[in-house]
Symmetry: C2
Subunit: 406 residues, 2 copies
Amino acid sequence: MKFQLLKGMRDLTPEQAMKKQKVIGVIRSVFERYGFAPIETPALESFDMLSMKEGGDAIRREIYNFRDQGNREIGLRFDLTVPLARFMSNNPNLPKPFKRCAIGDVWRYDNPQAARWRQFTQADIDTIGSPSVMADAECVAAVIDALERVGLKDFKVRVNNRKLLENVLIGCGVNKERIFSVFRVIDKMDKIGKNGVDEELKKLGIDAGRIFSFLGKDISQLEKFQGCDELEEFSGAMESFGMKDRIKIDLALVRGLEYYTGNVFEILSSLSVSIGGGGRYDKMMAAYGAGDFPAVGISIGIDRLLELLPDDGKKTPAKVFIATIGDVQKEALSIASGLRKGGISTVAELIGRNIKKQLEYADSLKIPYVIVIGPDEVGKKTAKVRNMETRKEEDVAFADLPKYLG
Amino acid sequence: MKFQLLKGMRDLTPEQAMKKQKVIGVIRSVFERYGFAPIETPALESFDMLSMKEGGDAIRREIYNFRDQGNREIGLRFDLTVPLARFMSNNPNLPKPFKRCAIGDVWRYDNPQAARWRQFTQADIDTIGSPSVMADAECVAAVIDALERVGLKDFKVRVNNRKLLENVLIGCGVNKERIFSVFRVIDKMDKIGKNGVDEELKKLGIDAGRIFSFLGKDISQLEKFQGCDELEEFSGAMESFGMKDRIKIDLALVRGLEYYTGNVFEILSSLSVSIGGGGRYDKMMAAYGAGDFPAVGISIGIDRLLELLPDDGKKTPAKVFIATIGDVQKEALSIASGLRKGGISTVAELIGRNIKKQLEYADSLKIPYVIVIGPDEVGKKTAKVRNMETRKEEDVAFADLPKYLG
């Protein structure tokens, strides 16, 4: 009987999983240096909670939702921000600002596409309870720091401000009620191009030319609009962090979600792949009963990021394989035990195959060193150590193995 | 609008989440030293796959299963072993033995009890493709090593062998068809006591006295029974690992699952709480179409383990809080940036509160050091550093802060 993965789901092999864990380890430690404290929330939440923000029916088609055996309507979380709001409302006494980090899986009933899975991993940081643009800058700085440390080159963070964009659009004659419709059209710029946006705005009866001329301006020309000060302050803070080169102010950046209220961010690779983003959302905590706390956050899409980073080709954590000739398994285990105590990842032969098969096994896993022991080696308490890359062998006393291989 | 957690679900606060991550980090690194390579499989699997092992209807009541929008019957994984079998069948070319580690969440629609949640975390290691008792011993050794390194005291691993128990029962006159019924009764020993087992066996028309006399014997008295050799070999291997003291052979140990075929293990705290277990399962891979590979594995229940370990009381990763007096936020960010580059977790004031409130905040998060800067300190490029435990203050030049606090 053979079973398959569900559509849109995937496994990670050791090669992929080790790469992912290494990247997450670096990101987590950077986030911790910025003082973001981890929390965990469950994968399952009530559907009422999950659907409040965006309205029930649209979200119902986009997430995994169902009734459990107790007939509760529940669903799998589709991001880490909505559960954060629920968490804050259930833990009202946490000291503010609350700087939280969450790295975890989320699920969406999307149509699977390239590099788009129905389960994926996000790494989020959010600061709840500070209205300061410094908090915005700190979130973005932490993400830039993390991405640099995992070895990503040539990425930028696009930045805009919702208030500024709204006020510019109003200045261009867009009615306040139609702001979000226009937002949605401008948001498609990357997909449908300037001509496409032009056409769609025309359909709404809006003069795209005027809007385009504003979107191309430098922020210094827009200082009369509310929101521009927040962008400028953000820019100054990024300079204090020594990270101004990573920032690109782009008045055409919208970011899909309606809940943003101030600066918004999008992390863009050199290939123009979005690796994540975020922004300020000052109204959401209150909407979830978590108190009237301003908030800002940013999220890295781990799966997208991993595709942009080179593979190191490791197939096992093991550095050493102990091959055995004859009945020396106990000695092999005892040598393995000593190496492991010295912090060296070790695999010992567990089948008793012939030596050729054992060496092929070590090779197939790309284990860098092989120790060969048989009755002779056990008698002399000295093993042959083979460097699998250079194919050179050396005799090493059992007692010296941890030092030699460490 | 306030939303609650679903029944049986819980959040982890920073205090709990940091403890959990620390423990998982140690366990993962020990597992890696033994050469177990991580894999990841998705939370959702087809219901056919999840239910094959135990039969559809019983499992339907115990897991989260539902139909997705494509009308597929799917469910959340309830352990990490069944998905491993599916993974092996989909990745037939992995070099064997395949030593895999998986740390992840699983879901069960249990009745919530103390320390029993509907989502919990397991840390598993399994070796696929070795029939050797050495592989059994290595799994148990890795778990003992990991538990010792996370600081658990006074635990034991109970060990038994399925073949031995089966043969002893047959020797006591139990019919082969009734072996599993008797297994299930003996398995309840901890819950219902010897008297309870006695009564239930009587109901099955079985002479409990004879069985009890065998279960109390030393293995040296049972050498004529098949399976005893595997227990003795296991015991010898644990001696090679220097871990024989952690092992307790207990002929009354059953372990619930029917798929075990050889040695079985249960990790027991000094309070007789089960923290996990496992065993050899030589038939399961073939049943899932993964080839005729013998297998052995063991699992740690992370949530149970965490309850047995002391809390360290940390509420944030931050070691340093930078308090500001007046308009010195940019200088605060620049000092924070320097400390973070030096690997010191730092939080800077992000609201501009009065100094008393800022110190209360640092205190409430138990941050060990506070740096106070105002216009004077910025002028002299020297900050006051307060040790929050001793309440002593010292003046430190800005440039020396990373060294002083490192």
